[in-house]
Amino acid sequence: MNRGHYKIFLGMAAGVGKTYRMLQEGQTEAEAGRDVVIGYLEPHKREETSAQARGLEVVPRHHVQIRDVTVEEMDLVGLLDRDPDLALIDELAHTNPPGLAHQKRYEDIADVLGAGIDVFSTVNVQHLESLNDQVAELTGVRVRETVPDSVLGAADEVVLIDLTPEALIARLRAGKIYPGENIDAALNNFFRIENLAALREVSLRQVAEDVESKRLTFSQGESLGTREEGQLSADTPKAVGERLLALVRPQPSSQRLVRRAWRSAQRLGTDLDLLWVKPPGKPIEGEEERQVTALRQLASVLGATLLIEEHDDLVAAVARLVRERGSTYIMVGESEPPRGLARLREPLPQRLMRATPPGVDVRIVAHRGSKEAGQ
């Protein structure tokens, strides 16, 4: 049996219209003659959302008794028995109460997809595991219900429901998201313009990366064409997203390079890798070990990745890493002036430019000492 088609509607926050859009597309599918049901819907007492659901069949909810309270959950068994063409299942990050087949709703969805049923679902960006810390730091609000990023990666389609922060706040003020008594609290806490702007950026980037990774997977999986064409597709510059690689050494002077690289990465809104190409066979000990620990700590603080590669050829190691990691910028520190026969050798930046794919920029960060001396 073929797996069902999985479409996720991703938003930056509650109220952007994910559920509405999911229902809208569900209605379109139903009008086109497909058998569409609502597996689970959380209308949050929003009139527009409830109106959009009218006419669609709803699979009755499963009632779960927790102490003195009865909660309503998606009836996975009922939905599988109903066996529609398409199921609309809201809030995939939801945690099920004890006693149900799975802990999380996205696991229920996996069963539905496995049964060959297409699924439309919704999620907010802060529920994604890898972004949870980042979003918590940006907004000061931590979301407990998280889903692995692979859930988004496994979707056949990810649709970003985008709304400007101003428009979302206007919707909130108009009472279209929360009831009147909760509006002020929401405006003072989560729904601040700077929070929403940051979340919007995170969502846009997430979808851009998702599109890019799917594009690259597709191009790598192509079996048609000549070998040269295949090579061409692997070397195709990324359409979205830069990636910065800084070449470091375990010594304090590398910190300046890391700082510069991190600032550039921040401006470009990209990831940063730090690479130390270590001579093979040489143990890391003493002062070198201390400096490696310091670099590791700094990388962790900055959210960068420290890579240590054992290789006797710096340029070859960097070129391989650049291809593997999809780096688009390389930052190197200023070298010591060459001595003796080393003067005849081609400088490192030139060698790097020749060895790396076309389009990869190399930037030299001046040593503080030489800069001061020159002034």
């Binding site: 810390d133 931590r142 910190q255 310091a294 900055l302 503080r368 001061e372």
Partner: protein, 198 residues
């Protein structure tokens, strides 16, 4: 006679080559004979977006006199809602221009710098973690209760008890109102320093 002359020229050439090799070798980085035997480090912990000018100047004077490395350490508070080891880009954004500014001043005075950013649930916790895995001979701290540049009395007492190094606590003085902070272009990355009075 000619053979002896050739021999002497040969000996002189070999001697010259050996001498040249030894001079070149002694100039290689990491092989300097004047390199200190032990690593001397002076820790300068700070918080916020300013560091006491008085504390920095004192730390730089000491570092220069003792051929020591200055270790400015930005102490970052990580909220309990986040894992202690998580990335803290917002804090790093505050720390970077400060570290750049300190490094610029230190370099101008010929002092080597080895900076750190340390995370903790509180400033004291961050300092405690730093004490656990770094070694240094001195700690320079300003005794200012202003909050922005200094540590509280309790923190200083704690530091005196815990730090496995000499602790230099600078008495608050009129010049203590001067701070070094990243400003203008430095604040967004160019590392320009400014000293100002508050």
């Amino acid at each position: 006679m000619i053979e002896i002359e050739h021999l002497l020229i040969g000996v002189a050439l070999i001697g010259g080559l050996c001498g040249g090799y030894l001079i070149a070798r002694s100039r290689l980085p990491g092989r300097r004979s004047d390199r200190p035997e032990a690593i001397h480090q002076i820790l300068l912990p700070f918080t916020g977006t300013e560091v006491s000018r008085r504390a920095l100047d004192a730390a730089l004077r000491l570092a220069r006199a003792e051929n020591a490395t200055l270790m400015p350490a930005y102490l970052a508070q990580v909220p309990k809602s986040l894992p202690l080891e998580c990335a803290i880009p917002n804090e790093a954004t505050r720390a970077m221009p400060m570290l750049e500014a300190i490094e610029q001043r230190a370099t101008a005075q010929g002092v080597a710098v080895d900076a750190r950013i340390e995370r903790g649930r509180s400033y004291r916790h961050a300092l405690e973690r730093l004490l656990e895995h770094e070694t240094f001979d001195r700690v320079v701290v300003p005794a200012s209760a202003s909050g922005a540049t200094g540590f509280s009395g309790d923190d200083l007492v704690w530091l005196l008890q815990k730090a496995p190094a000499e602790v230099l606590i600078l008495r608050p003085g009129p010049e203590d109102r001067r701070v070094v902070s990243a400003s203008g272009p430095g604040a967004n990355g160019n590392g320009k320093t400014s000293a100002r009075s508050r």
